[in-house]
């Protein structure tokens, strides 16, 4: 795999840790050096969470900085906007069209920005909006939304599909392999053209 920096952004509890585990395992399968940096503890409680996955010949810093991400995998629209500066101009920006109001919006102290995906599209050419909750729900559980997103991402890398499926099999619990395989395939086939 060529040197790739993936940032996974979302809201604590959306399954970003499982996503980064699967991505990391894919990285190893391709023989790359891999570093994954995660958020645990307080920030996980419904806060803004970001996970960095870096692959390449030799990775030093586990952190991705502004303008460095090749892929921005966004589990929630506002979080996409919050972290957008970390994407390269030609990055694949994959956005789950889910909206989770943060507490300042709930309490009326702030407004949830409108038309986020359009605003991002105006600045970045490679933006993919994914109704991941609906797709996951059609597979049997909204919890598989993260794997739908991985499917969409996988299509935009040079790593073959079977390596991804193998990493999913090795990472999720055995009873969820079937569900997650279907979720991955639906994501993978969402937009056949890159």
């Amino acid at each position: 795999m060529r040197s790739t920096s993936v940032m996974i952004v979302g809201v604590g509890g959306q399954g970003t840790l499982l996503t980064s585990k699967i991505l990391g395992n894919v990285g190893i399968s391709t023989g790359a050096d891999v570093k994954v940096s995660e958020v645990h503890g307080m920030s996980q409680r419904g806060g803004s969470v970001v996970t960095y996955v870096k692959m390449g010949e030799k990775v030093y810093s586990p952190i991705i900085e502004k303008g460095e991400a090749d892929i921005l995998l966004c589990f929630e629209e506002l979080e996409a906007l919050r972290w957008i500066d970390y994407a390269k101009k030609d990055a694949s920006i994959i956005i789950n069209t889910q909206r989770i109001d943060p507490m300042p919006v709930i309490t009326g102290k702030a407004r949830y920005p409108e038309n986020i995906i359009d605003k991002i599209r105006a600045e970045y050419r490679n933006v993919i909006a994914v109704p991941a909750l609906e797709i996951a729900s059609s597979c049997g559980s909204i919890k598989a939304a993260n794997v739908v997103m991985i499917g969409v991402l996988a299509r935009r890398t040079d790593v073959p599909e079977d390596i991804w499926l193998d990493a999913i099999r090795r990472t999720v619990k055995p009873q969820f392999v079937e569900l997650n395989t279907e979720a991955f395939r639906k994501g993978y086939n969402l937009q056949p053209s890159v």
């Binding site: 809201v11 604590g12 509890g13 980064s20 585990k21 990391g24 395992n25 990285g27 190893i28 050096d33 891999v34 570093k35 994954v36 940096s37 995660e38 958020v39 645990h40 503890g41 307080m42 920030s43 996980q44 409680r45 419904g46 806060g47 803004s48 990775v59 030093y60 810093s61 586990p62 952190i63 900085e65 502004k66 303008g67 506002l78 979080e79 906007l81 919050r82 957008i84 500066d85 889910q98 989770i100 109001d101 943060p102 507490m103 300042p104 919006v105 709930i106 309490t107 009326g108 102290k109 702030a110 407004r111 949830y112 920005p113 605003k119 991002i120 600045e123 970045y124 909750l133 909204i142």
Partner: protein
């Protein structure tokens, strides 16, 4: 074969490969997974959650004196709790190797302060290793035992969040078979009364000199020659950032930061034109260089606050301007952490806010009760502080103040160090009210069992601490139990107990919503015809209830169906999706 491992997971692996036999710890982000992985992966190591870090370290010291290789893991502030045994274990030294893993949290991802463990280690005269990736986590854990036994000293391995919580590739090794060392009675070494301790202090100082020599020789410290114009001394995660930012420079990469390798540093400094020290938090290595009389740039360029990054180093060391990135102009609302949907604490804080009480708080998920709209907590200092502080407020402002004050503390935190504060209240004739938020787990650190859950780290049943009896035993006659989702009853009990002219404890009992055995009845929705938009439900601060401007709705992806909102709604507007009126 190489495996992708979390830094903490790699530490656990290193502990296993080193043939350790005993591990004791109290959970604390970012150190928790070390002990969890030991418990999960390595049956041959005895492993436990202790009630606090002081006990954990004492158990490890005992195991070491008993001849086993022993470990203890904690977060930086946990080392403050364990400082008492640490400082004297430095005098006794070890029998089996003793290694303490301490995880600092620069940037305070999940902590109340940003202290630097290296300073405490230096004060305790204990050597410090500092790994910079997962492979080193495993290798240094093994090496730490060798150093501990060779030099007869406890060893601290210092981690930071980005090392502990990053995954990297690790080459696994074989487990070393390390026999239990014989135990021999040796009061001169293990009984630290003044006469013995005076002799041991001499041994400690001699040991430091020996360790200093070792630091110059060990492969833990290495020079990577590059461009000699710029020489960088770095350790831990700062080494990775510096390497990415200044890849062509010469590096002195320190794996052992205390004692510092003075000869090696002098040799390196003499061969580079400009010398930089790049280290997060305190100027520990830098001060060492200055004491050696070296000219060095460090904190004059880089902050003592927060985390570093390659960009920050490029900016401060190379003078490179940061690129501008604000591609989309927009006010982006912050997203602070919140109590989960279904959280039992929400009911209690709703009542506390309603009663407008002064609330001394503590460390745990419930600290989030300080945030809007619950806005309930007045203070948060350290583990157990809520109880002593409530007592202090009473002693400063009188009994009337006690009638308007409660302490809130979690079950695990109460066991950790709240119980001693409660004894103080009883002993010194206080009248404070302490509310124990018993959610049947240690929530914030990721659901560890504790003495109050009656389950061990390996999931075995054990004798459970009875919180009611415990509080009664220290002399609290008024111990009440309430369900925080029964808002009326909770309010009534709190009113009665703060008014009482004696100490009281209220145990607010309801399990954490994230526990596997907690089942709710499924998501609710709002009947917009019934909803009067009075916004009472919004005062709960539930992330699943959102105001869409024209109407209030329940987010079905977040709602678990805990039904707390149905108890504040006067219009019966909430109903269960798919029928069965709530």
């Amino acid at each position: 074969m190489k495996v992708l491992m979390l830094g903490n997971e790699a530490i656990a692996r290193g502990v296993y490969e080193a043939g350790a036999r005993v591990a004791s710890a109290y959970p604390g982000t970012p150190s928790t997974e070390i002990t969890e992985y030991i418990a999960k992966c390595y049956d041959e190591i005895y492993c436990e959650w202790a009630p606090n870090e002081k006990v954990a370290l004492e158990v490890a010291i005992g195991a070491s004196v008993g001849g086993a290789r022993a470990v203890c893991a904690m977060k930086h502030v946990g080392l403050n709790v364990a400082a008492d045994p640490l400082f004297t274990a430095a005098y006794t030294g070890v029998n089996g190797g003793l290694v303490i893993f301490v995880a600092d949290d620069p940037g305070m991802h999940s902590s109340q302060n940003e202290q630097d463990t290296r300073l405490i280690a230096r004060a305790a005269k204990v050597p410090v290793l500092e790994p910079s990736d997962s492979q080193e986590c495993k290798d240094f854990a093994r090496e730490a035992f060798e150093i501990s036994e060779k030099f007869d000293t406890p060893v601290i391995v210092r981690l930071t969040t980005r090392v502990a919580h990053s995954r990297g590739l690790v080459e696994l090794g074989e487990k070393e078979e390390v026999p239990l060392r014989p135990y021999e009675k040796n009061p001169g070494k293990y009984v630290m009364m003044p006469a013995m301790a005076r002799k041991r202090h001499i041994a400690v100082e001699e040991r430091l000199a020996d360790l200093s020599g070792f630091s110059d020789e060990t492969s833990l410290n290495r020079i990577e020659w590059g461009d000699r114009k710029t020489g960088v001394i770095a350790s831990g995660i700062s080494y990775q950032y510096a390497k990415e930012a200044l890849g062509n420079a010469s590096f002195l990469k320190l794996g052992m930061v205390y004692p510092l390798p003075e000869k090696l540093i002098r040799e390196f400094a003499a061969r580079v034109e400009y010398l930089y020290v790049i280290e997060e938090l305190e100027p520990f290595i830098e001060d060492g260089c200055r004491r050696m009389g070296l000219e060095v740039k460090g904190k004059e360029l880089l902050p003592v606050i927060g985390e570093y990054s390659a960009t920050l180093i490029r900016e401060r060391v190379l003078g490179q301007k940061r690129e501008k990135f604000n591609s989309i102009e927009e006010n982006i609302p912050a997203r602070p952490p919140v109590m989960c949907p279904g959280c039992p604490h929400r009911g209690l804080f709703y009542v506390l806010r309603k009663l407008k009480l002064t609330v001394t708080g503590d460390i745990g998920c419930y600290t989030l009760g300080a945030q809007p709209p619950l806005d309930s907590i007045d203070t948060c200092v350290c583990m157990g502080a809520s109880v002593g502080m409530a007592h202090g407020i009473e002693k400063a402002r009188g009994r009337e103040a006690a009638r308007k004050t409660v302490a809130v503390i979690g079950d695990s935190t109460f066991i950790h160090s709240g119980i001693t504060g409660l004894i103080d209240i009883v002993y010194n004739k206080g009248t404070s009210t302490v509310i124990i938020l018993d959610n049947s787990t240690t929530g914030m650190t990721g659901h560890q069992d504790n003495p109050a859950t009656g389950i061990t780290i390996r999931g075995e049943r054990t004798r459970q601490v009875d919180l009611v009896k415990l509080c009664q035993a220290v002399g609290v006659d008024r111990v009440r139990v309430c369900d925080p989702f029964d808002l009326d009853e909770t309010e009534k009990i709190i009113r009665e107990e703060v008014a009482a002219d004696e100490p009281s404890v209220i145990i607010s009992q309801r399990p954490c919503a994230l526990l596997k055995n907690v089942r709710f009845k499924g998501a609710l929705r709002i009947d917009t015809d019934k909803c009067a938009r009075c916004r009472m439900c919004m005062r709960l601060g539930c992330p699943a209830i959102v105001d869409r401007g024209t109407h209030i709705e329940v987010d079905p992806a977040l709602c678990v169906g805990c039904d707390l909102c149905t108890k504040v709604c006067r219009f019966n507007a909430f109903e269960r999706r798919g029928g069965e009126n709530a």
